[in-house]
Symmetry: C2
Subunit: 295 residues, 2 copies
Amino acid sequence: MTEFTDALVDVVAATETALLKLIPENEGPEAQIFQAMRYSAMAGGKRLRPFLVIASADLFNVSRLCSERVAAAIEMIHTYSLIHDDLPAMDDDDFRRGELTCHLKFDEATAILAGDALLTLAFEILAHSDTHNSAKIRADLVLEISRAVGARGMVGGQMLDLVGEQSVFGKPEITRLQRMKTGALINCSCQAGAILGDASETQRHLLNAYAHDIGLAFQIVDDLLDIDGDPDELGKATNKDIKAGKATFVSLLGVERARVQAEILINQAIKNTESFGAKGNLLRDLARFVIERHN
Amino acid sequence: MTEFTDALVDVVAATETALLKLIPENEGPEAQIFQAMRYSAMAGGKRLRPFLVIASADLFNVSRLCSERVAAAIEMIHTYSLIHDDLPAMDDDDFRRGELTCHLKFDEATAILAGDALLTLAFEILAHSDTHNSAKIRADLVLEISRAVGARGMVGGQMLDLVGEQSVFGKPEITRLQRMKTGALINCSCQAGAILGDASETQRHLLNAYAHDIGLAFQIVDDLLDIDGDPDELGKATNKDIKAGKATFVSLLGVERARVQAEILINQAIKNTESFGAKGNLLRDLARFVIERHN
């Protein structure tokens, strides 16, 4: 796994360099919006979605100059979703990755606007000719990603999470919630790599299946960590779902069956990368990493 | 002006038809996000920005099928900005156009998410091939509009409005605030029409100057209406700026000089449309409408 660990470190560094370069600075009285964007975007994290963009694009020999910009744009969208989800009117979280959430570090208005600005900046980056010289590819990226993160995807998933009577949710409803709230952005990270690489329909289907499986496995592992993870290592409180009376994969299946389910999904994901040969190594290693992680 | 009044009514109807068609419906437990999107998007308004998109695109004989989609996308962005600006953490407004604001009709979380979803949907529409068959034009629309409404434009303007010590703002600072907060979206509405019409650089400059002037005049008239408008006709409270101790064009210039300034701007705007000949009639009529309006 050394090669994989190196690749992970590389992606984190490249993503953070891109984020710092792409989030503008400003000395005006409104400077705090830029500070808040930067604070939340640079607050750590595994950079899973950037890794998926870059590893998927690598399958098709896409220039890293292109894939790193798209990776940063998708990470901005992920960051915006976390800022808004943490707000008092939503999940009301005080800490994220061991740091104060944006609305506590700054204030609520700044957090709302910084989230709005990160989402908007992501689309600006995707549409810019520096991202790819084909306008068709740029428009396709905007279309794919906006579909994934709107009301029928990520944002709708957050709505569902807030209003759904999760105590009565069964496995189909929990699966739908996961697909929308976290799966859609994970999925479109792989699809963004495929779009950059002008992948065939078959290749896009394989990446779709791969992302679908690791997204679900990622959520199951999250639910397991919420029960038996180390709050210090996680940088956030545990047992939140149980306290909130929320149904999760673990509350529905039990710890053992949930773990087995995650392993089945990871093996399926790995199978779907076989036709990419050695170029699929990073995606395969990532799949194993998803299930072995401790935070 | 009968022709103009008819045109205004037509644009309102076409925009509302497009909004209803483009904002999806859904029967899931998360349905309220779609209801909130629709509630705020359909809550009336002059549809000034759609009018500017369509009238600008008409200069270049763009199909209404294209310009009405772009008009609806820009109106969604305008609606999202109003929903977020009205939130308790921001301007904390209870009424908008005589109706309950989104967070009071629904709740704060739903309002935040409905705003997010409208912004995202706007970019989805712009990037979709139904909007234009040229991917270059679609990518250019996304780029132009995302720049206008991000942290260096509309959203930054709202931040400035919230944090700027407006009591000490002079005319240059108030002008910068207006350009960002309301001018940027008005401007890019005209530019969107020009992009759809593949306008020349000169034509784009003329439209830019036109939009710049009517945007500023629109704001001055807003400030005047805040002082001597009819709250019932406006559908919102008046004297808000004075109560908040905010500097405005009117507090800086006085009522009479502000009115003269608005008239100068409108005449300048009209001058900038001359080279479009009879095709520029709608834009000229709109400029006169901006200064004569009572709400």
